[in-house]
Every structure is written in structure tokens, then in C-alpha cells.
């Protein structure tokens, strides 16, 4: 089954729309769903032109395609456990929160908190992601716990904060504090980033470019070969417990 949701233009265009109902399994029982613009409840078809092709008995067989100006659409794919969501443009905050299965593909840019507290499944973003991609919630100790997030563009600050499992790969540069508080799982940044793996307690963080503002409490172990690259290996943050591994191609201290 393929559900196509084309965003209609809005009069108050800047007020975000919360659309946690847009999850493949919800469409198994029709399109009588609602979304919220600010404090107003809207029927799905007030916000979108809805069309459905084919049918399905299980969420795995449902694909939702979002088009139009979806940059302010929040919480799409929250708690998604199966199926597929394809976003042709950009997507708003909190896409794929708590996701445990299925696939989300974003062709444009994703706003903050993409894949927050994700437990499984796959998110692919062809554009850039804003801050807190694959991170946790305020006050929480665990960020993403499982699954895969792959970003082909750049990532903002606090990428994979408190990473507790799964794999996050960013092909471009990442911002400040990438992988802060990481305790398990793997973070790979192909480009440069600033202050990676701050306060690391475990897990692995790879920076194929330059780590700027390198935190002074990592102990240099030596060089290793990793997927055809020579990387410098450091062990975890000594300010914390000195556990985990950080691999960088190059680094600069703020000395």
C-alpha cells in the first residue's frame, strides 16, 4: 500500500504541525487521522491531499510518501515499528523518535532531534541534519539505543549525544560536541567536527577528518588501520572513567 500525503499550503505557514499519527501502521485502518497545528486539531485531509494506492494487511507493506513543504512537520514516524516513510523534501523536528523498526528516508534536510531515542530500524537523510541527531531526551542518560542513522550531508551540534547503541554515520562534517557522553554504539563522522566524544564512557567514535578543539583528557594510544585509513587512536575521556575509543585522522588542541 502506498499512501501519498501532499502538504497543503497553510495560512499561518510558520506554526509547526505535529503529526505523530503519520506512522505506516496507522494507515492500515484508513486515513481518518488527525494532526495538530499549534493548539488546533486538524483532520489529516485538512493539512494534506491524501491518496492511497493498493492495500496492505501489515505495516511492513505500507509506504508513506510525504511531499510539499514538510519542513515544519514534526514527529513524523514517532514510535514507528515497521514499513517505510519517504520524505521527498525536508522534514521537521523529532522525525523517527523512539522508532524501533522500518525505514525512513528523507531526501531533503532534517530538522533537530532526528531519530531521538531510536531503538531500531533505519533512517537515511540525503541532506543535512540539524542539532541533536540520534540523541536522547533532556535529563535522560541514554540517547539512541539501536538501529542505524546515515546522513549524507552535514550534521549540527550534539550529534548522537549520549549514544547508547546502534550506528550513526555522517558523511559530511559534524558540529560541536559530536558524540558527547557516548557510552556504547558507534559514531562515524567522515568530515571534520569539533570536540568529539566529550566525556566519553564507552563505545567508539571515528572522525575521518580533523577533530578541532580536541579535548585534552584523551590518552593517545597509537595509530591503527581502519577501512583503508590510518587513524590515531585515543582512549576514552580520563575526566570520566577513561573508557571507550576515539579514532581521528587528525586533531588540534585549543592550547
Amino acid at each position: 500500500m502506498k499512501v501519498t500525503l501532499a502538504m497543503k499550503p497553510m495560512t499561518k505557514g510558520f506554526i509547526p504541525i505535529e503529526a505523530e499519527s503519520i506512522v505506516p501502521k496507522n494507515f492500515l485502518s484508513g486515513t481518518d487521522l488527525s494532526v495538530w497545528r499549534g493548539n488546533r486539531e486538524l483532520r489529516l485531509d485538512e493539512a494534506f491531499s491524501v491518496s492511497v494506492e493498493g492495500s496492505a494487511d501489515r505495516a511492513e507493506d505500507v509506504e508513506v510518501v510525504l511531499s510539499g513543504d514538510t519542513c515544519r512537520l514534526k514527529r513524523v514516524g514517532e514510535y514507528m515499528d515497521a514499513g517505510r516513510i519517504t520524505v521527498l523534501g525536508g522534514i521537521g523536528m523529532h522525525c523517527g523518535n523512539f522508532m524501533s523498526g522500518g525505514t525512513i528516508e528523507v531526501h531533503g534536510n532534517a530538522d533537530g532531534w532526528l531519530g531521538r531515542e531510536m531503538a531500531g530500524g533505519t533512517i537515511v537523510c540525503r541532506g543535512d541534519v540539524a542539532d541533536y541527531c540520534a540523541s536522547g531526551y533532556r535529563g535522560g542518560r541514554k540517547g539512541m539505543k539501536g538501529g542505524t542513522v546515515e546522513v549524507f550531508g552535514r550534521a549540527g551540534d550534539f550529534l548522537a549525544e549520549s549514544l547508547a547503541g546502534g550506528t550513526v554515520v555522517v558523511h559530511g562534517d559534524a558540529g560541536d560536541m559530536a558524540g558527547a557522553e557516548i557510552h556504547s554504539g558507534t559514531l562515524v563522522v567522515h568530515g571534520n567536527c569539533s570536540r568529539p566524544a566529550a566525556n566519553m564512557k564507552g563505545g567508539s567514535c571515528y572522525v575521518y577528518g580533523t577533530a578541532r578543539g580536541m579535548i585534552p583528557t584523551f590518552r593517545k594510544v597509537g595509530t591503527v588501520q581502519h577501512e583503508g585509513r590510518t587513524l590515531i587512536q585515543f582512549t576514552g575521556d580520563l575526566a570520566n572513567r577513561g573508557k571507550g575509543n576515539l579514532f581521528v585522522k587528525d586533531y588540534e588542541y585549543l592550547d
Binding site: A130, D131, Y132, G156, D157, F158, G175, D176
Partner: protein, 129 residues
């Protein structure tokens, strides 16, 4: 010349903060504190005006020599002048980068605007009575 702009509280800013229509508040918050060597480099004397250009535009301020700032940085008391050029991005923390903006500073002959002029430039309407 490029500088790191840091904003912060000062006694004078605090003293005038409850009276934002006053010339004293405008004077304090449009002051750009600078190291005297940097001022020499730009050919500036105390009280000269400069155009400060940040990521979101530019504003005219008056320079004042200060022993508290390092070369390469300037200090501007919190207020509408600094905020005229500070970017609104917060890195998703709620807090703008108030203390870490790179700005371009050049001498100018223009005088700093009044606070209400800055507000009117952005679509406000001054109130005075």
C-alpha cells in the same frame, strides 16, 4: 578587522536597564570596549564611532579603550545594539551565542542610532510621553 565579540553585564548597563528610553542606557549599550592597541591599529580614539558587522547585519557603536579585553576581542554590554547583529540560532539549546560572535569592525562617521530608532528599523513604533 575581525574581532571576537563578547557581550555581558556591566554596572552601568544595570543602572540604566530600568530606563531604556534614556540616553544613558543607549550610550552604555552602544559602547564597544576594545584593547587600545587594536584601537591604534584602526586609528580610533575613545568615543569614535565604528561600524560593527556581525552575522545578521551591522550597527554603529562608540569605542572605548579598556584594559579588561584582550587584543582581538571586543566587549559590548548586553542590549539592543549588540543584539542588532547577534544571530538568533541557539544550537537547539534556547541560548544564542551571545559570547562568541566574530564581527568585522571598521571606523565610520555615522553616529549610533537611538534605541527607538533601532526598534523602528525592525518594525516597531517608538513611544515617548
Amino acid at each position: 578587522m575581525k574581532f571576537l565579540m563578547i557581550t555581558g553585564r556591566t554596572v552601568n548597563q544595570g543602572v540604566t536597564v530600568e530606563n531604556k528610553t534614556s540616553p544613558e542606557y543607549a550610550a552604555e549599550t552602544s559602547t564597544c570596549f576594545m584593547h587600545e592597541f587594536d584601537m591604534m591599529e584602526l586609528g580610533l580614539d575613545d568615543g569614535d564611532t565604528v561600524r560593527v558587522t556581525g552575522p545578521c547585519g551591522d550597527v554603529v557603536m562608540r569605542v572605548s579603550a579598556s584594559v579588561e579585553v584582550e587584543m582581538g576581542t571586543v566587549f559590548v554590554p548586553y542590549g539592543p545594539y549588540a543584539n542588532h547583529i547577534v544571530a538568533a540560532g541557539t544550537r537547539s539549546t534556547g541560548m544564542p551565542d551571545f559570547k562568541s560572535h566574530m564581527v568585522e569592525i571598521e571606523p565610520t562617521d555615522e553616529a549610533p542610532k537611538l534605541v527607538h530608532e533601532l526598534m523602528e528599523d525592525l518594525g516597531g513604533l517608538a513611544y515617548d510621553s
